[in-house]
Protein backbone atom coordinates (compact mmCIF):
# COMPACT_ATOMS: atom_id res chain seq x y z
CA UNK A 1 0.00 0.00 0.00
CA UNK A 2 1.28 3.48 -0.90
CA UNK A 3 0.32 6.67 0.82
CA UNK A 4 0.88 9.62 -1.51
CA UNK A 5 0.52 13.10 -0.04
CA UNK A 6 0.08 16.25 -2.13
CA UNK A 7 1.47 19.35 -0.37
CA UNK A 8 2.86 22.75 -1.30
CA UNK A 9 3.95 24.98 1.58
CA UNK A 10 2.27 27.95 -0.04
CA UNK A 11 -1.50 27.87 -0.44
CA UNK A 12 -3.20 28.33 -3.79
CA UNK A 13 -0.60 26.59 -5.95
CA UNK A 14 -3.14 24.01 -7.14
CA UNK A 15 -2.88 21.18 -4.60
CA UNK A 16 -6.58 20.45 -4.45
CA UNK A 17 -7.24 20.82 -8.20
CA UNK A 18 -4.44 18.36 -8.92
CA UNK A 19 -5.49 15.96 -6.15
CA UNK A 20 -9.03 15.94 -7.59
CA UNK A 21 -7.65 15.13 -11.07
CA UNK A 22 -5.40 12.40 -9.64
CA UNK A 23 -8.43 10.99 -7.80
CA UNK A 24 -10.26 10.87 -11.15
CA UNK A 25 -7.33 9.10 -12.83
CA UNK A 26 -6.63 6.65 -9.99
CA UNK A 27 -8.32 3.30 -9.56
CA UNK A 28 -9.41 1.93 -6.21
CA UNK A 29 -7.61 4.59 -4.22
CA UNK A 30 -8.78 5.69 -0.79
CA UNK A 31 -9.09 9.48 -1.03
CA UNK A 32 -8.32 11.67 1.91
CA UNK A 33 -8.54 15.42 2.58
CA UNK A 34 -5.99 16.24 5.27
CA UNK A 35 -6.53 20.00 5.03
CA UNK A 36 -8.99 19.76 7.90
CA UNK A 37 -8.87 23.48 8.59
CA UNK A 38 -10.03 24.75 5.17
CA UNK A 39 -10.94 21.59 3.25
CA UNK A 40 -11.96 22.02 -0.38
CA UNK A 41 -11.53 18.61 -2.04
CA UNK A 42 -15.16 17.70 -1.28
CA UNK A 43 -16.29 20.59 -3.49
CA UNK A 44 -15.05 18.60 -6.49
CA UNK A 45 -15.52 15.05 -5.22
CA UNK A 46 -19.02 15.74 -3.84
CA UNK A 47 -19.11 12.94 -1.27
CA UNK A 48 -22.32 11.18 -0.30
CA UNK A 49 -24.11 12.54 2.73
CA UNK A 50 -23.06 10.01 5.35
CA UNK A 51 -23.21 10.57 9.08
CA UNK A 52 -20.71 13.01 10.58
CA UNK A 53 -18.83 11.68 13.57
CA UNK A 54 -17.92 14.28 16.21
CA UNK A 55 -14.21 14.83 16.74
CA UNK A 56 -13.66 15.34 20.45
CA UNK A 57 -10.15 16.28 21.50
CA UNK A 58 -8.76 18.02 24.53
CA UNK A 59 -10.70 19.91 27.17
CA UNK A 60 -12.18 23.31 27.74
CA UNK A 61 -12.13 25.12 31.08
CA UNK A 62 -15.22 26.95 32.33
CA UNK A 63 -15.55 28.87 35.60
CA UNK A 64 -18.73 28.30 37.62
CA UNK A 65 -19.32 31.88 38.66
CA UNK A 66 -21.51 30.86 41.60
CA UNK A 67 -18.57 29.04 43.18
CA UNK A 68 -15.86 31.56 42.22
CA UNK A 69 -14.51 33.71 45.09
CA UNK A 70 -12.73 36.11 42.71
CA UNK A 71 -9.30 35.26 44.16
CA UNK A 72 -7.71 35.78 40.73
CA UNK A 73 -5.24 32.90 40.98
CA UNK A 74 -6.37 31.46 37.62
CA UNK A 75 -5.87 34.84 35.97
CA UNK A 76 -2.40 35.05 37.48
CA UNK A 77 -1.33 31.53 36.50
CA UNK A 78 -2.73 31.26 32.96
CA UNK A 79 0.10 31.71 30.48
CA UNK A 80 -2.27 32.11 27.54
CA UNK A 81 -4.13 35.20 28.75
CA UNK A 82 -7.26 33.10 28.52
CA UNK A 83 -8.83 34.26 31.80
CA UNK A 84 -10.84 37.45 31.32
CA UNK A 85 -11.07 39.81 34.25
CA UNK A 86 -14.29 41.75 33.75
CA UNK A 87 -16.78 43.67 35.87
CA UNK A 88 -18.86 40.49 35.97
CA UNK A 89 -15.97 38.50 37.42
CA UNK A 90 -13.52 36.05 35.89
CA UNK A 91 -14.37 33.94 32.86
CA UNK A 92 -12.51 31.75 30.37
CA UNK A 93 -12.00 33.04 26.83
CA UNK A 94 -12.55 29.83 24.82
CA UNK A 95 -10.66 31.27 21.85
CA UNK A 96 -7.44 31.66 23.87
CA UNK A 97 -7.86 28.62 26.15
CA UNK A 98 -5.40 25.85 25.24
CA UNK A 99 -7.01 23.30 27.54
CA UNK A 100 -3.89 22.87 29.69
CA UNK A 101 -5.83 22.50 32.95
CA UNK A 102 -3.64 24.79 35.08
CA UNK A 103 -6.59 26.91 36.23
CA UNK A 104 -8.68 23.80 36.91
CA UNK A 105 -5.97 22.17 39.02
CA UNK A 106 -4.97 25.19 41.07
CA UNK A 107 -8.37 26.78 41.71
CA UNK A 108 -8.63 26.68 45.55
CA UNK A 109 -12.44 26.45 45.35
CA UNK A 110 -12.45 23.78 42.61
CA UNK A 111 -14.81 26.15 40.81
CA UNK A 112 -13.59 25.42 37.28
CA UNK A 113 -15.12 22.66 35.15
CA UNK A 114 -13.04 20.84 32.56
CA UNK A 115 -15.17 19.35 29.82
CA UNK A 116 -14.22 17.51 26.63
CA UNK A 117 -14.05 19.80 23.65
CA UNK A 118 -15.77 19.01 20.36
CA UNK A 119 -13.35 20.42 17.79
CA UNK A 120 -14.95 19.25 14.56
CA UNK A 121 -16.29 16.21 12.73
CA UNK A 122 -15.07 13.54 10.33
CA UNK A 123 -16.67 10.88 8.17
CA UNK A 124 -16.23 8.23 5.53
CA UNK A 125 -18.22 8.87 2.34
CA UNK A 126 -18.61 7.58 -1.21
CA UNK A 127 -17.58 9.62 -4.23
CA UNK A 128 -17.63 8.91 -7.97
CA UNK A 129 -13.86 8.32 -7.74
CA UNK A 130 -13.87 6.03 -4.71
CA UNK A 131 -14.18 6.11 -0.94
CA UNK A 132 -13.25 9.38 0.72
CA UNK A 133 -12.25 10.18 4.30
CA UNK A 134 -12.68 13.81 5.19
CA UNK A 135 -13.26 16.15 8.10
CA UNK A 136 -13.91 19.70 9.14
CA UNK A 137 -12.34 21.36 12.13
CA UNK A 138 -14.84 23.79 13.67
CA UNK A 139 -13.78 27.32 12.69
CA UNK A 140 -11.26 28.74 15.17
CA UNK A 141 -10.55 25.38 16.81
CA UNK A 142 -7.26 23.66 17.53
CA UNK A 143 -5.96 20.08 17.54
CA UNK A 144 -5.80 19.91 13.74
CA UNK A 145 -2.75 17.62 13.95
CA UNK A 146 -4.72 15.04 15.92
CA UNK A 147 -7.61 15.15 13.46
CA UNK A 148 -5.16 14.65 10.58
CA UNK A 149 -3.69 11.63 12.40
CA UNK A 150 -7.19 10.22 12.94
CA UNK A 151 -8.04 10.57 9.22
CA UNK A 152 -4.81 8.82 8.22
CA UNK A 153 -5.53 5.93 10.59
CA UNK A 154 -9.04 5.60 9.17
CA UNK A 155 -7.78 5.76 5.57
CA UNK A 156 -5.22 3.03 6.24
CA UNK A 157 -7.83 0.79 7.85
CA UNK A 158 -10.16 1.33 4.88
CA UNK A 159 -7.41 0.61 2.37
CA UNK A 160 -6.59 -2.61 4.19
CA UNK A 161 -10.24 -3.63 4.34
CA UNK A 162 -10.87 -2.87 0.63
CA UNK A 163 -7.53 -4.20 -0.58
CA UNK A 164 -6.76 -0.72 -1.98
CA UNK A 165 -3.16 -0.24 -3.08
CA UNK A 166 -3.15 3.53 -2.80
CA UNK A 167 -4.11 6.28 -0.37
CA UNK A 168 -4.17 9.67 -2.06
CA UNK A 169 -4.22 12.66 0.30
CA UNK A 170 -4.66 16.38 -0.19
CA UNK A 171 -2.44 18.07 2.40
CA UNK A 172 -2.67 21.33 4.35
CA UNK A 173 -0.58 24.43 3.56
CA UNK A 174 2.32 25.57 5.74
CA UNK A 175 4.87 23.53 7.68
CA UNK A 176 3.27 23.44 11.15
CA UNK A 177 1.32 20.98 13.23
CA UNK A 178 -1.16 19.58 10.66
CA UNK A 179 1.54 19.32 7.96
CA UNK A 180 3.92 17.48 10.27
CA UNK A 181 1.06 15.16 11.18
CA UNK A 182 0.27 14.59 7.48
CA UNK A 183 3.82 14.13 6.19
CA UNK A 184 5.50 11.94 8.81
CA UNK A 185 5.58 8.36 7.57
CA UNK A 186 4.04 9.08 4.13
CA UNK A 187 5.53 7.05 1.25
CA UNK A 188 5.79 9.95 -1.16
CA UNK A 189 5.23 13.70 -0.82
CA UNK A 190 4.40 15.35 -4.13
CA UNK A 191 5.03 19.07 -3.82
CA UNK A 192 3.10 21.48 -5.99
CA UNK A 193 4.87 24.78 -6.48
CA UNK A 194 4.49 27.80 -8.73
CA UNK A 195 7.15 30.05 -10.27
CA UNK A 196 6.72 33.01 -7.90
CA UNK A 197 9.13 34.14 -5.18
CA UNK A 198 6.64 32.88 -2.55
CA UNK A 199 6.05 29.56 -4.28
CA UNK A 200 9.78 28.88 -4.52
CA UNK A 201 10.57 30.07 -0.97
CA UNK A 202 7.77 27.97 0.54
CA UNK A 203 8.81 24.92 -1.50
CA UNK A 204 12.29 25.11 0.03
CA UNK A 205 10.82 25.09 3.55
CA UNK A 206 8.46 22.20 2.94
CA UNK A 207 11.26 20.21 1.23
CA UNK A 208 13.35 20.77 4.35
CA UNK A 209 10.44 19.50 6.45
CA UNK A 210 10.06 16.34 4.34
CA UNK A 211 13.84 15.82 4.62
CA UNK A 212 13.56 16.17 8.39
CA UNK A 213 11.04 13.31 8.43
CA UNK A 214 12.90 11.37 5.71
CA UNK A 215 9.91 11.31 3.36
CA UNK A 216 10.74 10.85 -0.36
CA UNK A 217 9.82 13.92 -2.35
CA UNK A 218 8.96 14.82 -5.93
CA UNK A 219 8.03 18.22 -7.36
CA UNK A 220 5.47 19.53 -9.86
CA UNK A 221 5.80 23.11 -11.14
CA UNK A 222 2.28 24.41 -11.77
CA UNK A 223 1.46 27.59 -13.76
CA UNK A 224 5.00 27.25 -15.10
CA UNK A 225 4.69 29.88 -17.85
CA UNK A 226 3.88 32.63 -15.29
CA UNK A 227 7.61 33.27 -14.92
CA UNK A 228 10.01 31.13 -16.98
CA UNK A 229 13.03 32.46 -15.13
CA UNK A 230 11.72 31.44 -11.67
CA UNK A 231 10.67 28.06 -13.13
CA UNK A 232 14.26 27.66 -14.30
CA UNK A 233 15.55 28.51 -10.82
CA UNK A 234 13.20 25.92 -9.27
CA UNK A 235 14.44 23.32 -11.76
CA UNK A 236 18.05 24.14 -10.87
CA UNK A 237 17.29 23.95 -7.15
CA UNK A 238 15.58 20.55 -7.56
CA UNK A 239 18.48 19.23 -9.66
CA UNK A 240 20.88 20.39 -6.96
CA UNK A 241 18.83 18.67 -4.24
CA UNK A 242 18.34 15.52 -6.33
CA UNK A 243 14.56 15.99 -6.35
CA UNK A 244 12.72 14.71 -9.43
CA UNK A 245 10.60 17.37 -11.18
CA UNK A 246 7.72 15.30 -12.51
CA UNK A 247 6.21 17.95 -14.74
CA UNK A 248 5.72 21.59 -15.57
CA UNK A 249 2.02 22.32 -16.02
CA UNK A 250 0.98 25.45 -17.95
CA UNK A 251 -1.19 28.18 -16.46
CA UNK A 252 -4.78 27.45 -17.55
CA UNK A 253 -8.02 29.10 -16.44
CA UNK A 254 -9.74 25.78 -17.23
CA UNK A 255 -8.70 24.72 -13.70
CA UNK A 256 -11.13 27.36 -12.41
CA UNK A 257 -13.81 26.61 -15.02
CA UNK A 258 -13.67 22.93 -14.05
CA UNK A 259 -13.88 23.85 -10.35
CA UNK A 260 -16.99 25.97 -10.96
CA UNK A 261 -18.60 22.91 -12.59
CA UNK A 262 -17.57 20.72 -9.64
CA UNK A 263 -15.31 18.68 -11.93
CA UNK A 264 -11.69 17.60 -12.02
CA UNK A 265 -9.83 19.26 -14.91
CA UNK A 266 -9.30 15.84 -16.51
CA UNK A 267 -13.08 15.28 -16.56
CA UNK A 268 -13.81 18.75 -17.83
CA UNK A 269 -11.50 19.25 -20.80
CA UNK A 270 -8.75 17.79 -22.92
CA UNK A 271 -6.70 20.99 -22.98
CA UNK A 272 -2.90 21.06 -22.86
CA UNK A 273 -2.98 21.50 -19.07
CA UNK A 274 -5.39 18.58 -18.70
CA UNK A 275 -3.14 16.34 -20.84
CA UNK A 276 -0.12 17.43 -18.80
CA UNK A 277 -1.98 16.38 -15.63
CA UNK A 278 -2.73 12.93 -17.12
CA UNK A 279 0.93 12.44 -17.97
CA UNK A 280 2.15 13.58 -14.58
CA UNK A 281 -0.14 11.12 -12.78
CA UNK A 282 1.60 8.23 -14.55
CA UNK A 283 4.92 9.67 -13.43
CA UNK A 284 3.70 10.04 -9.83
CA UNK A 285 2.83 6.33 -9.79
CA UNK A 286 6.19 5.41 -11.34
CA UNK A 287 7.96 7.57 -8.78
CA UNK A 288 6.11 5.92 -5.90
CA UNK A 289 7.06 2.49 -7.28
CA UNK A 290 10.68 3.59 -7.77
CA UNK A 291 11.02 4.85 -4.18
CA UNK A 292 9.37 1.65 -3.03
CA UNK A 293 11.92 -0.47 -4.92
CA UNK A 294 14.78 1.62 -3.52
Amino acid sequence: MHEILIISGKGGTGKTSLTAAFAHLSHDAVLCDLDVDAPDLHLILQPSDTEKIPFVSGFEARIRSADCTQCGLCHEMCRFEAIRDTDDGFSVDPVRCEGCGVCVHFCPEKAIDFTPRECGWWRIARTRFGTMVHAQLHPGEENSGKLVALLRTQAKALAKENGAKLILSDGPPGIGCPVISAVSGADLAVMITEPTPSGFHDLERVVELADHFRVPTAVIINKTDLNKSVSGSIQAYCADKGLPVLAEIPFDTDFVHAMVQGQAITEFTDSAASRAVREVWERVLQQAAAFDAA
Partner: protein, 292 residues
Protein backbone atom coordinates in the same frame (compact mmCIF):
# COMPACT_ATOMS: atom_id res chain seq x y z
CA UNK B 1 -4.77 50.97 14.41
CA UNK B 2 -3.92 47.35 13.71
CA UNK B 3 -5.17 45.74 10.53
CA UNK B 4 -5.00 41.96 10.00
CA UNK B 5 -5.00 40.72 6.42
CA UNK B 6 -6.36 37.19 6.46
CA UNK B 7 -8.10 34.66 4.25
CA UNK B 8 -9.44 31.16 4.67
CA UNK B 9 -7.95 29.72 1.54
CA UNK B 10 -4.25 30.14 0.93
CA UNK B 11 -2.96 31.75 -2.22
CA UNK B 12 -5.79 34.28 -2.57
CA UNK B 13 -3.40 37.23 -2.46
CA UNK B 14 -2.98 38.18 1.24
CA UNK B 15 0.71 38.98 0.86
CA UNK B 16 0.20 40.86 -2.40
CA UNK B 17 -2.51 42.97 -0.71
CA UNK B 18 -0.42 43.55 2.45
CA UNK B 19 2.61 44.69 0.43
CA UNK B 20 0.45 46.95 -1.72
CA UNK B 21 -1.37 48.46 1.28
CA UNK B 22 1.99 49.10 2.97
CA UNK B 23 3.07 51.38 0.13
CA UNK B 24 -0.41 52.96 -0.26
CA UNK B 25 -1.35 53.64 3.37
CA UNK B 26 -0.60 57.37 3.24
CA UNK B 27 1.70 57.30 6.30
CA UNK B 28 4.57 55.08 7.45
CA UNK B 29 3.33 51.77 8.86
CA UNK B 30 4.73 48.74 10.61
CA UNK B 31 4.41 45.83 8.17
CA UNK B 32 4.27 42.53 10.09
CA UNK B 33 4.55 39.03 8.67
CA UNK B 34 2.66 36.69 11.00
CA UNK B 35 2.53 33.84 8.48
CA UNK B 36 5.48 32.39 10.36
CA UNK B 37 5.24 28.95 8.76
CA UNK B 38 5.70 30.37 5.29
CA UNK B 39 6.64 34.06 5.59
CA UNK B 40 6.70 35.79 2.21
CA UNK B 41 6.15 39.50 2.80
CA UNK B 42 9.90 40.21 2.84
CA UNK B 43 10.19 38.83 -0.69
CA UNK B 44 8.11 41.77 -1.92
CA UNK B 45 8.92 44.59 0.54
CA UNK B 46 12.63 43.62 0.42
CA UNK B 47 13.39 45.18 3.81
CA UNK B 48 16.87 45.99 4.99
CA UNK B 49 17.06 43.88 8.14
CA UNK B 50 18.74 45.51 11.12
CA UNK B 51 18.22 42.94 13.84
CA UNK B 52 17.19 39.42 14.61
CA UNK B 53 16.75 37.22 17.63
CA UNK B 54 15.92 33.62 18.30
CA UNK B 55 12.52 33.03 19.86
CA UNK B 56 12.20 30.46 22.63
CA UNK B 57 9.53 28.84 24.69
CA UNK B 58 9.95 27.58 28.27
CA UNK B 59 9.73 23.81 28.61
CA UNK B 60 10.34 21.58 31.65
CA UNK B 61 13.71 20.24 32.74
CA UNK B 62 13.44 17.53 35.37
CA UNK B 63 16.12 17.17 38.04
CA UNK B 64 16.14 13.43 38.66
CA UNK B 65 18.19 13.95 41.84
CA UNK B 66 15.11 15.59 43.36
CA UNK B 67 12.39 13.62 41.54
CA UNK B 68 10.74 10.77 43.45
CA UNK B 69 8.75 9.55 40.41
CA UNK B 70 5.41 10.42 41.97
CA UNK B 71 3.92 10.83 38.46
CA UNK B 72 1.82 13.88 39.32
CA UNK B 73 3.33 15.89 36.47
CA UNK B 74 2.70 13.14 33.92
CA UNK B 75 -0.88 12.73 35.11
CA UNK B 76 -1.45 16.47 34.96
CA UNK B 77 0.06 17.17 31.52
CA UNK B 78 -2.71 17.34 28.90
CA UNK B 79 -0.21 17.17 26.08
CA UNK B 80 1.70 14.02 27.11
CA UNK B 81 4.94 15.99 27.25
CA UNK B 82 6.18 14.20 30.39
CA UNK B 83 6.21 10.48 30.91
CA UNK B 84 7.26 8.94 34.22
CA UNK B 85 8.37 5.31 34.36
CA UNK B 86 9.30 3.55 37.64
CA UNK B 87 12.84 4.93 37.64
CA UNK B 88 13.10 7.36 34.79
CA UNK B 89 11.40 10.57 33.64
CA UNK B 90 11.14 11.38 29.96
CA UNK B 91 10.35 14.87 28.73
CA UNK B 92 9.12 15.39 25.16
CA UNK B 93 9.79 19.11 24.74
CA UNK B 94 8.21 19.26 21.28
CA UNK B 95 4.84 18.24 22.78
CA UNK B 96 4.91 20.93 25.49
CA UNK B 97 2.56 23.93 25.22
CA UNK B 98 4.45 25.84 27.92
CA UNK B 99 1.56 26.10 30.41
CA UNK B 100 3.93 25.83 33.39
CA UNK B 101 1.59 23.46 35.25
CA UNK B 102 4.14 20.71 35.91
CA UNK B 103 6.63 23.14 37.44
CA UNK B 104 4.00 24.71 39.65
CA UNK B 105 2.61 21.45 40.99
CA UNK B 106 5.75 19.33 41.50
CA UNK B 107 5.78 18.62 45.27
CA UNK B 108 9.59 18.28 45.31
CA UNK B 109 10.30 21.34 43.14
CA UNK B 110 12.21 19.04 40.83
CA UNK B 111 11.17 20.75 37.60
CA UNK B 112 13.11 23.73 36.34
CA UNK B 113 12.92 25.23 32.88
CA UNK B 114 14.92 24.94 29.75
CA UNK B 115 13.97 26.30 26.34
CA UNK B 116 12.81 25.07 22.98
CA UNK B 117 13.65 27.17 19.92
CA UNK B 118 10.48 28.22 18.12
CA UNK B 119 12.20 30.06 15.31
CA UNK B 120 13.50 33.55 14.80
CA UNK B 121 12.21 37.10 14.67
CA UNK B 122 13.82 39.63 12.32
CA UNK B 123 13.16 43.33 11.83
CA UNK B 124 14.27 46.24 9.75
CA UNK B 125 12.98 48.88 7.36
CA UNK B 126 11.48 48.94 3.90
CA UNK B 127 11.60 52.52 2.56
CA UNK B 128 9.68 54.63 5.14
CA UNK B 129 8.03 51.62 6.71
CA UNK B 130 9.14 49.48 9.61
CA UNK B 131 9.12 45.74 9.09
CA UNK B 132 9.08 42.66 11.33
CA UNK B 133 8.64 38.98 10.64
CA UNK B 134 8.67 35.62 12.39
CA UNK B 135 10.11 32.50 10.82
CA UNK B 136 9.17 29.17 12.37
CA UNK B 137 11.96 26.62 12.78
CA UNK B 138 11.43 23.78 10.30
CA UNK B 139 10.25 20.80 12.35
CA UNK B 140 8.53 22.97 15.00
CA UNK B 141 4.83 22.13 15.08
CA UNK B 142 3.40 25.07 16.99
CA UNK B 143 3.21 28.43 15.29
CA UNK B 144 0.88 30.32 17.73
CA UNK B 145 3.60 30.85 20.41
CA UNK B 146 5.91 32.44 17.81
CA UNK B 147 3.04 34.52 16.40
CA UNK B 148 2.40 35.85 19.92
CA UNK B 149 6.10 36.65 20.40
CA UNK B 150 6.24 38.63 17.16
CA UNK B 151 3.15 40.57 18.27
CA UNK B 152 4.76 41.23 21.65
CA UNK B 153 7.77 42.78 19.86
CA UNK B 154 5.49 45.46 18.42
CA UNK B 155 5.44 47.16 21.82
CA UNK B 156 9.22 47.72 21.69
CA UNK B 157 9.44 51.48 21.37
CA UNK B 158 13.17 51.28 20.53
CA UNK B 159 12.18 49.56 17.27
CA UNK B 160 8.69 50.77 16.41
CA UNK B 161 6.85 54.05 16.55
CA UNK B 162 3.88 53.31 18.84
CA UNK B 163 1.78 55.81 16.88
CA UNK B 164 2.29 54.04 13.54
CA UNK B 165 -0.49 51.93 12.12
CA UNK B 166 0.22 48.20 11.87
CA UNK B 167 -0.50 45.94 8.88
CA UNK B 168 -0.30 42.22 9.66
CA UNK B 169 -0.09 39.49 7.05
CA UNK B 170 -1.84 36.54 8.72
CA UNK B 171 -1.42 32.82 8.03
CA UNK B 172 -4.02 31.05 5.87
CA UNK B 173 -6.76 28.90 7.35
CA UNK B 174 -9.18 29.50 10.17
CA UNK B 175 -7.72 27.48 13.05
CA UNK B 176 -5.51 28.52 15.98
CA UNK B 177 -2.62 30.13 14.03
CA UNK B 178 -4.98 32.38 12.05
CA UNK B 179 -7.06 33.25 15.12
CA UNK B 180 -3.91 34.13 17.09
CA UNK B 181 -2.81 36.43 14.28
CA UNK B 182 -6.06 38.42 14.09
CA UNK B 183 -7.15 38.41 17.74
CA UNK B 184 -5.46 41.71 18.66
CA UNK B 185 -6.39 43.60 15.49
CA UNK B 186 -8.87 46.47 15.12
CA UNK B 187 -9.99 45.34 11.68
CA UNK B 188 -9.85 42.10 9.70
CA UNK B 189 -9.49 42.34 5.94
CA UNK B 190 -10.45 39.06 4.29
CA UNK B 191 -8.88 38.42 0.90
CA UNK B 192 -10.76 35.95 -1.27
CA UNK B 193 -11.28 34.94 -4.88
CA UNK B 194 -14.58 34.27 -6.66
CA UNK B 195 -14.01 30.53 -7.03
CA UNK B 196 -15.87 27.73 -5.23
CA UNK B 197 -12.80 27.09 -3.02
CA UNK B 198 -12.45 30.80 -2.24
CA UNK B 199 -16.14 31.14 -1.35
CA UNK B 200 -16.26 28.02 0.84
CA UNK B 201 -13.18 29.12 2.80
CA UNK B 202 -14.44 32.72 3.12
CA UNK B 203 -17.55 31.37 4.81
CA UNK B 204 -15.35 29.43 7.25
CA UNK B 205 -13.19 32.50 7.89
CA UNK B 206 -16.12 34.73 8.74
CA UNK B 207 -17.55 32.03 11.03
CA UNK B 208 -14.19 31.74 12.80
CA UNK B 209 -13.61 35.48 13.17
CA UNK B 210 -17.17 36.70 13.80
CA UNK B 211 -17.07 35.77 17.53
CA UNK B 212 -14.14 38.18 17.93
CA UNK B 213 -16.56 41.08 17.27
CA UNK B 214 -14.24 43.06 15.04
CA UNK B 215 -15.15 45.05 11.96
CA UNK B 216 -14.38 43.08 8.80
CA UNK B 217 -14.27 43.77 5.09
CA UNK B 218 -13.55 41.78 1.95
CA UNK B 219 -11.19 42.19 -0.97
CA UNK B 220 -12.13 40.10 -3.98
CA UNK B 221 -8.98 39.23 -5.88
CA UNK B 222 -9.05 37.86 -9.43
CA UNK B 223 -12.54 39.34 -9.91
CA UNK B 224 -14.04 38.15 -13.18
CA UNK B 225 -12.71 34.63 -12.76
CA UNK B 226 -15.03 31.95 -11.40
CA UNK B 227 -18.64 32.84 -10.64
CA UNK B 228 -20.86 35.19 -8.65
CA UNK B 229 -21.31 33.08 -5.51
CA UNK B 230 -18.89 35.20 -3.46
CA UNK B 231 -21.10 38.27 -3.96
CA UNK B 232 -24.13 36.30 -2.74
CA UNK B 233 -22.20 35.15 0.32
CA UNK B 234 -21.04 38.67 1.19
CA UNK B 235 -24.65 39.88 0.99
CA UNK B 236 -25.92 36.93 3.01
CA UNK B 237 -23.46 37.39 5.90
CA UNK B 238 -23.33 41.18 5.61
CA UNK B 239 -19.64 41.57 4.77
CA UNK B 240 -18.79 44.80 2.91
CA UNK B 241 -16.73 44.39 -0.27
CA UNK B 242 -14.07 47.11 -0.05
CA UNK B 243 -12.21 46.42 -3.28
CA UNK B 244 -12.16 44.18 -6.31
CA UNK B 245 -8.86 43.45 -7.99
CA UNK B 246 -9.56 42.27 -11.52
CA UNK B 247 -8.28 38.97 -12.83
CA UNK B 248 -5.34 40.12 -14.91
CA UNK B 249 -2.38 38.10 -16.15
CA UNK B 250 -0.18 41.18 -15.81
CA UNK B 251 -0.85 41.35 -12.06
CA UNK B 252 0.08 37.68 -11.74
CA UNK B 253 3.26 38.36 -13.72
CA UNK B 254 4.20 41.38 -11.54
CA UNK B 255 3.74 39.22 -8.43
CA UNK B 256 5.73 36.37 -9.98
CA UNK B 257 8.49 38.90 -10.60
CA UNK B 258 8.63 39.76 -6.87
CA UNK B 259 7.30 43.29 -7.36
CA UNK B 260 4.64 45.23 -5.42
CA UNK B 261 1.46 45.37 -7.51
CA UNK B 262 0.46 48.87 -6.27
CA UNK B 263 3.76 50.25 -7.55
CA UNK B 264 3.46 48.62 -10.97
CA UNK B 265 0.66 50.67 -12.50
CA UNK B 266 -1.20 53.91 -11.55
CA UNK B 267 -4.53 52.03 -11.79
CA UNK B 268 -3.52 49.63 -9.03
CA UNK B 269 -1.98 52.44 -6.99
CA UNK B 270 -5.36 54.22 -7.02
CA UNK B 271 -7.17 51.01 -6.17
CA UNK B 272 -5.01 50.35 -3.08
CA UNK B 273 -5.07 53.99 -1.93
CA UNK B 274 -8.87 53.86 -2.05
CA UNK B 275 -8.84 50.54 -0.20
CA UNK B 276 -6.53 52.00 2.49
CA UNK B 277 -8.91 54.94 3.00
CA UNK B 278 -11.93 52.61 3.19
CA UNK B 279 -10.24 50.54 5.91
CA UNK B 280 -9.19 53.63 7.86
CA UNK B 281 -12.76 54.98 7.67
CA UNK B 282 -14.23 51.64 8.76
CA UNK B 283 -11.98 51.54 11.85
CA UNK B 284 -12.88 55.15 12.74
CA UNK B 285 -16.58 54.39 12.32
CA UNK B 286 -16.43 51.34 14.53
CA UNK B 287 -14.55 53.30 17.22
CA UNK B 288 -17.20 56.02 17.15
CA UNK B 289 -19.97 53.43 17.26
CA UNK B 290 -18.37 51.83 20.30
CA UNK B 291 -18.00 55.14 22.12
CA UNK B 292 -21.51 56.29 21.26
Amino acid sequence: MKIAIASGKGGTGKTMVTASLTVSWGAPVVAVDLDVEEPNLHLFLKPELSGRQEAFMEVPLVDEQKCDYCRQCAEFCQFKAISVLPNVVMVFPEMCHGCGGCMALCPREAIATTTRTLGEIAWGRSADNAFIMGRLRVGEAMSPPLIRKVQACLSRTDLFDPAADVLMDAPPGVSCPAVNAVIDSDFILLVTEPTPFGVFDLRLAQEAFRPLHKPMGVVINRAGLGNGAVYDLCREVDLPILAEIPYDRDIAAVYADGRVVALSDPRWQDLFRTLARSIQAAVMNSREARHA
